[in-house]
Symmetry: C2
Subunit: 223 residues, 2 copies
């Protein structure tokens, strides 16, 4: 059985969980707080980052969410998520990188730092300028997603792909932390509502972090 | 013919160039300075980042170096670089991510910022504390590489892979900017010397940035 070392508000862990959910691969979870990673965890992943996926019986340790997703895609044929001809697969991977890197750096990471790390670790109030800037950047990214969805049924093309999972993972964390203002983003809001009702997404939406509460609309499927 | 939009000291552009060199895929180059990217370039890549690989006749535009490398690997069988069983491929991709993300963030990016951007764009002197910190982080990464090479002929296993190209790309930029102290890293130095003599690497090593000069040992194969 797979064991996922993850953190509830880590968007990369969420992307892997969404993919394993869609592929119906069973796993259990170990919570690992990245800011207090144990030596044992550093031994699993020299980058000291969540997620890490382990299969003890077969002696497999996988780190880096994109490497993990490629592995799951190569070894489990069910519900392919990096599919189609090479150009389409390149488009899926370009968008995964855009959400993993740019959306994360512009939006999710500053929100995690201001709304979670300062609260749980540093015991400081959030910096309201940094929060405003992250929310402004979120609008820019949602504008681009609106444009994609105007032109294609799913973010990368005609079928759901890892690009949709990567985007939903980032957005769900940003939305949990109150960083998404949905006004004016009807296309993306519609796309996200469909997503929220998928069985792969339900377990993520019902989880709560101890002290940090999401806004009321967070887990509602029709919002 | 492929056209690569790239920047000489961009390690991600270098990784793609090394892969195209190893696979003997022909391309020409357009220099794009990421800090002064044109509107036309933003249209090619909404992330505004180098590298971008274009094939005009077939209407193909690829962005993100990892998506580009996966595409080249899928479409060109010559000299496979993401090879072997799924666990090996996952190990290659884990290491690519480690160099692309951690080595870059810890070492290459601060060196580029202090030694290149401050000089060419901001016209400020470098911050010597930031430089010292980047060089200290470089030692940590080279220690890990020494350990890998003690245990395996190449970074990811028994054959050369994209992990080696990703590492060489980052190290070559850091070395150009004077950020690598080779003392005490005999294993990695030996691995890198082999690399420097490869035909795919020679064109990179002979290029010079206008005002910024590399240290004397930079292009020497026996150093
Ligand atoms: N490229 C990695 C990024 C993972 C990542 O940044 N995880 C965060 C938590 S959301 C982390 O562990 N940060 C701690 C650190 O970077 O030291 C992946 O896709 O798995
Ligand atoms: N994940 C991207 C990263 C590319 C990247 O960061 N390129 C740098 C130059 S080395 C850049 O264009 N930076 C400008 C920016 O991020 O705005 C890739 O692998 O292609």
């Amino acid at each position: 059985m797979w064991r996922l070392y993850q953190f509830p508000l880590c968007p990369f862990s969420r992307k892997v969980r969404l993919l394993m959910g869609e592929k119906q691969i069973a796993y259990d979870m170990v919570r690992e707080d990245p800011w207090a990673a144990s030596d044992a965890f550093w031994n699993l992943n020299p980058a000291g980052r969540t997620p890490v996926l382990v299969e003890e019986v077969r002696g497999i340790t996988l780190a880096d969410s994109r490497a993990i997703c490629e592995y799951l895609e190569e070894t489990c044929e069910k519900t392919p998520m990096i599919n189609g001809p090479a150009v389409m697969r390149a488009e899926i991977r370009r968008l995964v990188a855009l959400f993993d890197e740019n959306f994360y750096a512009d939006v999710t990471a500053p929100l995690l730092s201001e709304r979670m790390k300062k609260r749980l670790v540093l015991r400081q109030p959030p910096d309201s300028r940094a929060l405003r800037e992250a929310m402004k950047m979120a609008h820019g990214h949602l504008d681009y997603m609106d444009w994609l969805i105007d032109n294609r049924p799913w973010l990368a093309g005609s079928t759901m792909s890892l690009a949709d999972l990567a985007a939903a993972a980032q957005i769900s964390v940003a939305d949990y932390l109150g960083g998404i203002d949905w006004n004016g983003h009807e296309q993306t809001r519609g796309w996200y509502a469909v997503f929220k009702s998928r069985p792969s997404f339900r377990p993520l939406l019902t989880e709560r972090m101890d002290v940090i509460k999401p806004p009321a609309h967070y887990a509602l499927v029709d919002m």
